[in-house]
Amino acid sequence: MSTMLEVSGLTHQYGQGERAHVAVRDLTFTIESGQLACIVGPSGCGKSTLLRCISGLIPATGGSVRLHGDEVSGVPDDLAVVFQDYSRSLFPWLTVAKNVEFPLRWQKVPKADRKRRAEEVLESVGLSGVGKKYPWQLSGGMQQRVSIARALVSRPALLLMDEPFASVDAQTRGELEDLTRRVQRELGSTILLVTHDIDESVYLADRVLVLSKSPAAIVADLDIALPADRDQITTRESEQFVSLRSEVARLLQSPQVQRTGEADTTDAAHAAGESGDAAGARTDAGSGAGSDRFTETHGTAESSDETATARS
């Protein structure tokens, strides 16, 4: 396996002087070709910043990003991003088909080819026949499918996804997760997906990188040895899955992750956050104010080292 992405010493600081805010500090990791890696970290820890640096949308203030060996400066050609906010990411003045064709325009693909490829990729995300509609005429889940199709149409070497399923309902979310895995295997693409949802990261990934609170640093790098064919119900209830997600949850709760500067030290949630969440099916790596809302409802997992190998 060749290395697709090499991030070394990546640091990003917003602002200067007094108002400076370090969002990402000294991150180092690599992603191999054909991998589906998830980065999971608490809300506001710098996940989006990391993706924006990797995609060349903002220049990192320190360190380097290499995409199959080439230093990233500016937006690379063979990289695509799926943003969380599909409704803002799709161009409302273009039809669905034109949205999907959009990246091909700049790659000098003839018009007929563009059309055909857009149709193909729309079909592969389960959206044949909506090409002539406008994005706002589709449901949220369909819109996110469109933006996934648009990201895939130019067959990027690396696909970055920033909390892509955070704003769709649970049902759609499951469908989109399965879609992502299927498409990734069909196209053999490399995907780096960022999420704050522990279950989602374990369910989707071949590998999970756990980030600390702001400024983001990697606290663990887990191989997810679940079978390649995953199912929303059976995989999620398997012992392996449950122990893995407990592992990730525990890592996110560990003092390492909590080591933070300023505002967060006053966080009284440390103790409060332990209480079990009866619903418990999905856990959030601290969405909103309660930053420690990880729940460990089922106490199933003791040490899960058989299934997960902590590399760091």
């Binding site: 991003v81 906010d85 803002r88 990411s89 161009f91 990246p103 406008y134």
Partner: protein, 272 residues
């Protein structure tokens, strides 16, 4: 179950088209009756006004579709002035607004000046325009351009400035080349605001056309001032109503263009 919705739909259609015209017709009838009762020269009957209007507009030969001289000598030149000046403003204003909006610092320097220029009631500047351009078409055009330009500029700046950051990131990550940036991303995103500016300035253009013509002595404006001073109130009222009709027609035409250009927008209330 579908019966109420069908009825509701029918009600809405009736409401939008037939009923508004019915109300309009009722207002004209009410005018007729009130004028009949009042019986004063200042307030002629609606039938008389419309009759005069028909005489003026439809007094021509058959080969001109009966259109009278007034259409060619008065109405069309006035319209051409207003529309021409407005179109010039639109082109200049969108270009200027785009440049100002795209520039990082231009609005810091010029923002206040433009807001100030927009706030000056253009009617009060008529003497200045007369001194600068003399009396004639040039003065009329200058007055209309000056008063319609700033709303278009400011709306365009606003539109160009308010392009969503996520769309900018998306476009960049999809490799949109710089030279396509304006046409593919910025202007489409700004278009709704630009059209709002265009519609606002179109009504200003009609207003300034009449004022400039009254001051300068030409076209519809001249007819209004002449008929007023020679106590031909029936004809005066006709020209006033004609201005209303022209304004309505132009606004409707622009709305139609807007619907064509902005057809991608989710359905919205029309403020025709």
């Amino acid at each position: 179950m579908s019966a109420p919705t069908v009825a509701a739909k029918r009600g809405r259609i009736l409401g939008s088209a037939a009923v508004t015209w019915l109300v309009f017709a009722l207002a004209l009838s009410a005018w007729e009756l009130i004028a009949l009762g009042a019986d004063t020269v200042y307030f002629p009957r609606m039938t008389a006004i419309l009759g005069t209007g028909a005489d003026i507009l439809l007094s021509g030969p058959a080969w001109r579709l009966m259109l009278g001289d007034a259409v060619f000598d008065i109405v069309l030149p006035s319209l051409a002035t207003a529309l021409g000046a407005w179109a010039f403003s639109a082109a200049l204003g969108v270009a200027l607004g785009t440049a100002l909006g795209r520039s990082r610092w231009a609005m810091d320097y010029c923002g206040t000046l433009i807001s100030f220029l927009r706030s000056v009631p253009p009617v009060t500047l008529m003497p200045a325009f007369m001194v600068m351009f003399g009396i004639g078409k040039q003065m009329e055009i200058a007055a209309i351009v000056f008063s319609t330009l700033w709303p278009i500029v400011l709306n365009t700046v606003d539109g160009v400035r308010s392009v969503d950051q996520v769309k900018i990131d998306t476009a960049r990550s999809l490799g949109t080349p710089r030279r396509y940036w304006l046409g593919m991303i910025v202007l489409p995103a700004a278009m709704p605001k630009i059209f709002a500016g265009l519609r606002l300035s179109l009504s200003i253009a009609i207003l300034l056309m009449v004022v400039a013509e009254i001051v300068g002595g030409s076209g519809i404006g001249l007819r209004i001032s002449t008929t007023q001073s020679t106590v031909q109130y029936t004809e005066m009222w006709f020209w006033v109503l004609l201005l209303g009709a022209l304004g309505y027609a132009l606004n409707s035409a622009l709305l139609a263009v807007e619907r064509l250009v902005l057809g991608w927008q989710p359905a919205r209330e029309d403020d025709a």
